[in-house]
């Protein structure tokens, strides 16, 4: 039986279950899988975190280097987010230049970090117009069990939260110091399965779905990013109700990020 046929049978089954309010792994429509956050996983990074959501595993590493501010923002540091969907993590990824899916993850994560003002970029300026810190957020997906966007942002924000500015190493200051984090954005992704809208989709649910919607919130009650993806549609009311759910899951995960700091 070909992969395509298997996938189609699985899709039908997932949609049938969703019609009855059920999911393949027994979760309810608003149940998130088990989340774990392990900060400091990589000592060569200036900050890092390994995040697991169910059988999805994502590693984020932070590197800070002195560089030049952009001409139009002379008083700010530079933030660069890059997600790699390496072929190690899934039978569906292939080597080569970043695919649209990887680029979408990078950009959605980048927007959430940036819009939430997670870090104060003006604090990363050393000499206006001349020298500023460049902060790289590199995200490696290790095990792709679905819902990469949520895992990637969680890993990125947790890594930033526990990062150090290597001022001494680069002779920019006398001592290294912790990177200051102002806000804690968390993304929460939903997929439509028939008329059900379920949170934290698995790989198979993403393949079966009729639309994916991601909402990023922060701890001050702001929505800081949204992204509808994949084939399918959501009504404005769908959007409003997922936003409420995103705040609830977001608050829970924000506590974990801070807790992980201990």
């Amino acid at each position: 039986m070909s992969d395509e046929v298997t996938a189609e049978i699985l899709t039908t089954h997932i949609l049938d279950l969703a019609g009855q309010g059920k999911r393949l792994d027994g979760r309810g429509t608003d149940d998130y899988r088990k989340v774990s956050i392990e900060p400091g996983f990589v000592v060569t990074a200036d900050g890092s975190a390994l995040v697991r959501i169910g059988d999805t595993a994502v590693l984020a590493g932070i590197k800070l280097e002195p560089g030049k501010p952009f001409a139009d923002t002379p008083n700010a540091g530079v933030l660069t987010t890059n997600a790699e969907l390496i072929p190690l993590s899934s039978p569906t990824f292939e080597p080569g230049p970043p695919q649209p899916g990887a680029i979408e993850v990078s950009r959605v994560v980048d927007r959430a970090i940036r819009a939430a003002e997670t870090i104060d970029l003006t604090r990363l300026c050393v000499t206006p117009g001349e020298k500023s810190w460049v902060c790289y957020v590199d995200i490696h997906v290790l095990d792709h069990g679905g819902n990469l966007i949520d895992a990637a942002l969680l890993a990125g924000v947790a890594a930033l939260t526990h990062a150090t500015v290597p001022a001494k190493r680069f002779e920019v200051g006398d001592a290294d110091y912790p990177l200051e984090v102002l806000h804690t954005p968390v993304e929460c992704t939903f997929v439509r399965l028939g008329e059900a809208i379920v949170v934290d989709p698995t790989f198979d649910e993403e393949r079966a779905c009729q639309g994916r919607l991601t909402v990023a919130t922060d701890e001050t009650g702001r929505i800081v990013a949204m992204q509808k993806g994949l084939v399918g549609a959501f009504s404005p009311d769908d959007v409003k109700s997922t936003v409420e759910r995103a705040f609830q899951h977001g608050d829970r995960m924000r506590a974990m990020i801070r807790g992980g700091a201990g």
């Binding site: 680029i103 990013a225 992204q227 509808k228 959007v239």
Partner: protein, 249 residues
């Protein structure tokens, strides 16, 4: 939204509630759509919307390139959104950047939600969007142009896809952001509507809003899309009303 550490921030909303170009918060910029603007594409449209100029062309259903993307049960919808080097103030280096690739992806997915792709298995429907002059809202202008181009090419679809960006600038929720509002405002929220179902097939947000503001923005956007929808339908009526030979002067 790229205003962190920027130099000069303009006043985006006057005390009288007027915007930088004199519009009210719920007002669209002028829009003009020409269906069939090109001779060699299977379908095409040119959209002038505020200070945006966007051309779209559609080819297909045709052979799939590269071959390995071919699907046995449906047409694959491919989109390439591109900005001309001279379309923006600071020259853009030619070639695909990450922003263009993301926009191409979400536009292709939006159309994949309404095109009857199962009617053309093992083929490709190729959408090309070229932004010739940009002033915020180019992905929406591109989507509108592509939608009319698809109709011009005779591709069967559930509906046209009007699109518009709403956002927040100067503290207010506003419709159809122009460049300064996009650069210095608080939020940008592009969306594309299926008018008959009332559902959104494209929705992105960058910036920050409360949930109440978001609710207002969504309503304002839907209303804006319905306005665009009328202009799109009229452009197609105008196209069919003239002889093909004259249609693309």
């Amino acid at each position: 939204m790229g205003s962190v550490g920027a130099k000069d921030v303009p006043v985006l909303l006057s005390p009288e509630g007027l915007r930088i170009d004199g519009r009210r918060v719920n007002e669209l910029r002028p829009i003009k759509i020409t269906a069939g603007a090109l001779k060699h594409a299977d379908g095409s449209a040119f959209v002038e919307w505020g200070a945006n100029k966007v051309m779209a062309a559609v080819y297909g259903p045709r052979e799939v390139h590269p071959r390995h993307l071919q699907q046995n049960t449906k047409a694959v919808i491919q989109c390439k959104y591109n900005m001309a080097a001279f379309s923006v103030d600071e020259r853009k280096r030619p070639g695909l950047d990450r922003r263009s690739q993301e926009i191409s992806k979400v536009i292709a997915e939006a159309f994949d939600s309404v095109v009857f792709a199962e009617e053309f298995p093992r083929t490709s429907i190729d959408i090309y969007i070229e932004v010739l002059q940009a002033n915020a809202g180019t992905r929406c202008a591109g989507l509108v142009a592509a939608s009319v181009a698809l109709a011009d090419a005779g591709i069967p679809m559930a509906d046209l896809l009007p699109a518009v960006a709403v956002g927040k600038a100067g503290g207010a929720i506003i419709l159809d952001l122009k460049k300064e509002e996009d650069n210095f405002g608080e939020a940008d929220l592009p969306m594309a509507l299926v008018p008959q179902s009332g559902r959104l097939v494209l929705l992105q947000m960058e910036g920050h809003m409360t949930r109440e503001e978001l609710a207002t923005a969504l309503d304002l956007g839907v209303q804006g899309c319905r306005g665009i929808y009328e202009v799109m339908k009229q452009a197609l009526r105008d196209r069919y009303a003239v002889a093909p030979a004259e249609a693309s002067a």
